[in-house]
């Protein structure tokens, strides 16, 4: 193999690629972080709802009016999941965590591949430059 066609990745990764990698990592961190933030607020209504007095429970969730509107006669309704056999909150949490993990994996993969392709492209362009100069 001639020096012109040295194997891929033999030249060091350049600065712009690193910058793009940093953007990628930052992006892939945003989603899980937001998931954690969101999940803490999701988990809140459940222990609150376990209390018998319904409107107050909804109030801790931050929207008393909405709860009252959505659940006419909310007291009985909310009392129903006082003794939830299946932990809805945990399932909710799991669902969101999985979705964010998948989305973050997608972002990370796309960004990393982009930076790799760009680095490769830059290196190739330089090699073409060199090759055309020697040709001339």
């Amino acid at each position: 193999m001639s020096p012109l066609l040295s194997p891929r990745g033999s030249t060091p990764v350049r600065k712009p690629a690193l910058r793009r990698l940093a953007v990628g990592v930052a992006l892939s961190l945003v989603l899980p972080l937001s998931a954690v933030a969101a999940s803490t607020s999701f988990a809140a209504p459940q222990p609150a709802a376990a209390k018998a007095d319904a409107p107050a429970a909804a109030a801790t969730a931050g929207a008393p009016d909405a709860a009252a509107k959505a659940a006419p006669g909310g007291a009985e309704a909310l009392a129903k999941y006082k003794e939830e056999p299946v932990p809805g909150g945990a399932l909710l949490l799991a669902a969101y965590m999985v979705m964010w993990a998948l989305a973050a994996a997608l972002v990370a993969r796309v960004v990393m591949r982009q930076s790799r392709t760009e680095a490769e492209l830059k290196e190739l362009a330089e090699r073409v430059d060199v090759a055309t100069e020697t040709q001339a």
Binding site: A61, G89, L91, Q114
Partner: protein
């Protein structure tokens, strides 16, 4: 065939600022939806707090349908009039579609555990989603396994097109089959305006995000095309130099 069209050698790679802005917008919308869901929407009367899976579950299903349909459409275009851009778009739509299909397939059962009492039923719509996802994964895998990239591209495109009428017919079939799947949107099942706001925020956020991911992947594939044509040019230079 535009397979090895000689590309301009020295076009600088532009920074995708618009793309990054789009991702930021999508994330902001998603954050807004999350905040709205967490603080404004009431828990469901019957299902309780787990109902809040709904917003992003259904939005993911939306995105999955959109991207997979777009993948079939662009594949069809590529078959009729071969175009590298249509091919790259089809590939990126397919990959993003699979990710969102996985989102739907994981969040759905977790919700079902509470509302139906079990993770998985052979409920028609679940079956449909799973089948379509498997087909999409097979199409992605197939492209890498073909003898040469060009034939893999055409075969993959044909498979993607083939999947479209099949999934439509399964959709018809499963409607007759009958099932327990909630028909929230058709039935006007969203009870409060807060829920509606949260839902549409989630849909807008996910669609923006997914579109940006498709564009990002598309850009990457196009850059790879350019890298390939540069490598070809290099190989031509090298071959000609060897003769001298």
């Amino acid at each position: 065939m535009t397979a090895h069209s000689p590309a301009p050698l020295q076009v600088p790679v532009k920074q995708p600022w618009l793309l990054l802005a789009g991702i930021a917008l999508g994330l902001a919308l998603i954050e807004a939806a999350l905040w709205w869901i967490a603080t404004k929407t009431p828990p469901d009367i019957i299902l309780g707090v787990v109902q809040k899976v709904f917003y992003f579950h259904v939005a993911s299903a939306f995105v999955m349908l959109l991207t997979l349909t777009a993948a079939a459409g662009t594949s069809l275009y590529d078959l009729i009039r071969p175009d590298d851009r249509a091919d790259a778009l089809a590939r990126s739509c397919l990959e993003v579609g699979v990710v969102f299909a996985l989102c739907v397939l994981t969040s759905g059962p977790l919700w079902a555990r509470k509302s139906w009492g079990m993770y998985w039923t052979w409920e028609p719509r679940l079956t449909l989603t799973l089948l379509v996802t498997l087909l999409a994964v097979a199409v992605i895998a197939l492209r890498g396994l073909a003898e040469d990239p060009q034939s893999g591209r055409r075969v993959g495109a044909a498979m993607a097109v083939m999947g479209a009428p099949a999934s439509f017919l399964i959709h018809v079939a499963v409607k007759w089959w009958g099932g327990a799947h909630p028909q929230v949107l058709q039935g006007g099942g969203i009870r409060s305006s807060e829920m509606r706001v949260a839902f549409w925020l989630a849909v807008a956020g996910l669609i923006t995000f997914a579109a940006c991911m498709v564009v990002a992947r598309f850009r990457d594939l196009r850059l790879q095309d350019r890298a390939r044509s540069l490598r070809l040019n290099l190989s031509a230079l090298e071959l000609r130099r060897g003769r001298a």
